[in-house]
Symmetry: C2
Subunit: 557 residues, 2 copies
């Protein structure tokens, strides 16, 4: 009889919240036969990651296993679950992608930007899809975006319940409530491991329904004499839809601002998730001609991004739209950790312009989390009744809290839980589960100029630059390695120019001395530069107590 | 093809909260063929029902239909679901009774008091029981008592989900969490009507797990230097078990006080629901010899009943147990509406004796409701996804709130809901449901002396007695109807004795006059008494402005 094993590898998503990407590997008689990829999302850099626009999962582990990849299964359309597909699709050998409706359109829109067509398979709920030695079945779930799903992954060792980002929303603003029958039937038939969202594990009770936000929009709109401006993530179609509905109720023309906001709402309209009567479709250019109390602007920029539509309005840089007294700006999303400073600065700026700014610190029901709280998480565990549990989508803190919930509130044993770090692997056989070796992963950084050419060194340099400044030294030598002129220095962000002269003279003497010491030895460019660089670093530290980034260039004439 | 109809008749339970008794009738071609009875509970009199010990459902509707009764299905062991069985069992023709374990033992204990053996069928969960034209299937549910159930009732017109008293407790102190698979499978296969508990429809969120109370007991016990005394309903086995567990943890001997408390805990121990090490089983008589901080007393009397074990202790009438400084008394149940006065009086009395009294006004987590809150109720409706909904087990106010929940929060239509009063009937066919004629029911009152011999007249009398007092007149006549002596009067609670003489003399003259007027007519005892009675009532009202209860006795010598 064949011996089967399944290995679970998170390439992202288990500790960083974002850049979700998970692998399920099937081994038959210790030979890797099939790989399923679930989600392929981007991460958001935190404040320590200078100048990085986004982070994507590291797929180098997969490079020599492309022929084993059976599919990418997408759970829902949030960026941290689909955002890395354009970067990785070709490198993964253009595998077939399955995605629920809204996610499908979002992914297709991304590929349009690159002028690359992409075929995405529709999801047939309640049916097993055969994928090599695996089978997968999608289950309808609720989250803060329509068409959110969970996935059952069946293999010869058992069924894994892949349960990312969800809350049990009995009254989602549209789409249906979770498919309890499928979830509980899975549990009834036997679930080997539940991989559960854990981000809300610290919050008591059940998470509020998305619908609560609709009421809040109505109440806030009712009391707004001027323009009503709402901002949230552009993928938060549920939220946007509820704001649109309120606008329709109060007869306000709806205007979308921001590229992604326009694109996503266009997609949502196409899918029938949003319906705006023709008379209430507004345009940016005409806003100044409409009475303010007949305007509803839905703008990107809820994270305080400098270049966003909302930030530009706040700085009065939108030539059609001026923020004035009587306007109301509603933030319907919380700052992502790390963005607090930018968000509060934007709130200040908007307030300065006279707008009434509403955000979740002062209004409870502006933002219902998309993630289940303790009771949601407990229900899912009870429904699926798994042999093992593995929290995903939270930080270590959330994982631990999830473990506490499952072992103290519910009656699971610690041995049934796996708390894992990125790249950690877990093996499953028919009879047991255990941690395997780590798979090496690193963050792959993307900025405006390219993918992956920013590494940890670049980031360290940027950090140094930001805190210690830089000094550039230029040394001109003749062919025999003698100084042609005194070394030249210039600096930025290091010390005041007035104080530099004396310091740099000393530094020049240091270089002369160093050159004399190595006299007779041919100058080896790179080594020499490094050596001088280190000496200068130490020198500046002794003299000024700082370690600026030191760049030395040697020119031989 | 045969034409089928099902009629639902609540003989109790739909508006009074208690005395739950429901009928399901099956009609084949308009002829009644089968009746199922669900529950047969007692009600608790309110303050207007003077001297009544309890109320039981009126089964006169069933008197000529005994041959159609297929079974009594009991959902759980609370008094308001089983308490009327001893009064009705024989009159119903000793039908077969199905009951889950704990309820079965509780019912058997009741019959032991009457020295009558009774056979009760065990419940086989997950299996359909054939009962005439009906089939029934029990589903494991959670409430504040172990072995709580819901019942599916299948008939040719569809499946009714009979869902009384429940909360979705994911962590019941013992027994398992609800059988979600069975519930949702019912919904998946199609539920014609959900009959749902509605008592918690006003409370937001999910109801707390029963387990929360265990933690509270531990915390309260930890800080108690003297005796720890806990009181709750004697059927609240979950609660009692958690107190016992805390006592074991703190090495306190457990003593049960009160007849029903002893009986029920004995039954629970027999069923394995409670385990007390031999060394911690205490006796009332030995308490004075044990250090107070090694004692845990669990006493009946949480409703302030005058004759209860707890009330007697409070009045220092227990010869073995004295309440003293350092003792703590924990009320782990709220007053039933109408009992507030007695409960607070008891709390005062206990406090006066020096005990530290803890009750839910000052401690939130002493008492988790056994009834689901809004989210529990919404979950059940989503799980079962019924065509019609019918709230039971609440008052009109709760029914309305349930309707609001289902139609505003969820998306059911008002036409799908039936809000009904006791005796109201609802007809179900394969295609529709509609209200039928009312079935006449009245309250059947029980006091220490008998069943049903207290009617509304008795209650009115008791009310009169309590507010206006009474006057008894004795008239002695000879065989020809002439007064042998002046009529005699005595009174209680009417007017001060000092003022009576003159009044009663006048009354005597009134009677003489009345007798003279009817001279020659043979005295017809009863009529004459009634006539004289009415005349006296009017007379006393004219004279004193009160209407005492007037009793006239005529003795012929």
């Amino acid at each position: 009889m064949d011996d089967y094993k399944v290995r679970f590898i998170p390439l992202g998503g288990v500790v960083g919240v974002t850049k979700n990407m998970y692998l399920y590997e099937l081994y038959t008689n210790d030979e890797l036969t099939d790989i399923l990829i679930v989600d392929c999302g981007m991460g958001f850099p935190d404040a320590k990651e200078f100048g990085v626009d986004l982070i994507i999962p590291d797929i180098s582990y997969l490079e020599d296993k492309l022929d084993k990849i059976r599919a990418i299964l997408i759970t829902h359309g949030h960026e941290d679950h689909i955002g890395a597909i354009p970067f990785h699709y070709d490198k993964l050998g253009t595998p077939q992608i399955y995605a629920p409706k809204l996610a499908k359109v979002f992914i297709q829109n991304k590929f349009k930007e690159f002028n690359q067509p992409i075929h995405i398979q529709d999801v047939d709920f309640k049916k097993w899809i055969k994928l090599g030695g695996f089978e997968a079945k999608y289950i309808h779930m609720t989250h803060s975006i329509p068409d959110a799903t969970h996935i059952l992954i069946k293999s010869p060792v058992g069924v894994m319940y892949h349960g990312p980002d969800f809350k049990l929303d009995l009254t989602p603003p549209y789409s249906k409530y979770p498919d309890f029958y499928e979830i509980i039937s899975a549990g009834h038939d036997g679930v080997l491991c539940l991989l559960s969202d854990a981000l809300g594990a610290e919050r008591e009770g059940l998470t509020l329904s998305e619908s609560i936000v609709g009421e809040t929009f109505e109440n806030e709109m009712r009391s707004t004499k001027g323009k009503f401006i709402m901002t949230t993530f552009s993928s938060n179609i549920s939220r946007i839809k509820q704001c649109v509905d309120a606008a329709i109720k109060f007869n306000r023309k709806v205007v979308f601002l921001g590229r992604s906001m326009k694109q996503n709402t266009e997609a949502a309209k196409d899918l029938g998730y949003m319906n705006i009567p023709h008379t209430l479709k507004g345009k940016e250019e005409e806003i100044s001609k409409i009475p303010p109390n007949k305007v509803c602007i839905i703008a990107a920029g809820s994270q305080g991004q400098y270049d966003s539509a909302l930030s530009k309005m706040a700085r009065q840089q939108n030539k059609y739209i001026k923020i004035t007294e009587g306007d109301k700006v509603v933030f319907s999303s919380d700052p992502i950790p790390g963005n607090e400073h930018e968000v509060y600065a934007l709130i200040e700026e908007l307030s300065l312009q006279g707008a009434d700014v509403i955000y979740s610190d002062i209004q409870d029901q502006l933002h219902a989390s998309g993630h289940g709280s303790q009771e949601d998480l407990k229900f899912l565990a009870r429904f699926t009744n798994p042999k093992y549990l593995l929290p995903i989508g939270g930080t270590i803190r959330h994982q631990r809290q999830y473990e506490r919930l499952m072992t103290e509130d519910l009656d699971f044993k610690k041995e049934q839980l796996f708390l894992i770090d990125e790249g950690d692997t877990v093996w499953f056989t028919k009879t047991k589960a255990y941690k395997g070796d780590k798979v090496e992963t690193k963050n792959v950084y993307v900025d405006a100029y390219g993918v992956g050419d920013i590494g940890n060194v670049v980031l360290r340099d940027r950090q140094t630059l930001s805190s210690e400044g830089m000094v550039v030294g230029v040394i001109v030598l003749n062919q025999t390695g003698q100084l042609v002129a005194a070394p030249k220095f210039f600096s930025r962000g290091f010390v005041f120019e007035k104080n530099e002269e004396d310091l740099f003279n000393k530094a020049g003497l240091l270089i002369e001395k160093s050159l004399n010491a190595s006299k007779g030895v041919m100058v080896d460019g790179d080594n020499y530069k490094r050596k001088i660089g280190r000496e200068l670093e130490d020198f500046f530290f002794q003299e000024r107590g700082r370690r600026p980034l030191v760049l030395v260039d040697v020119i031989q004439v």
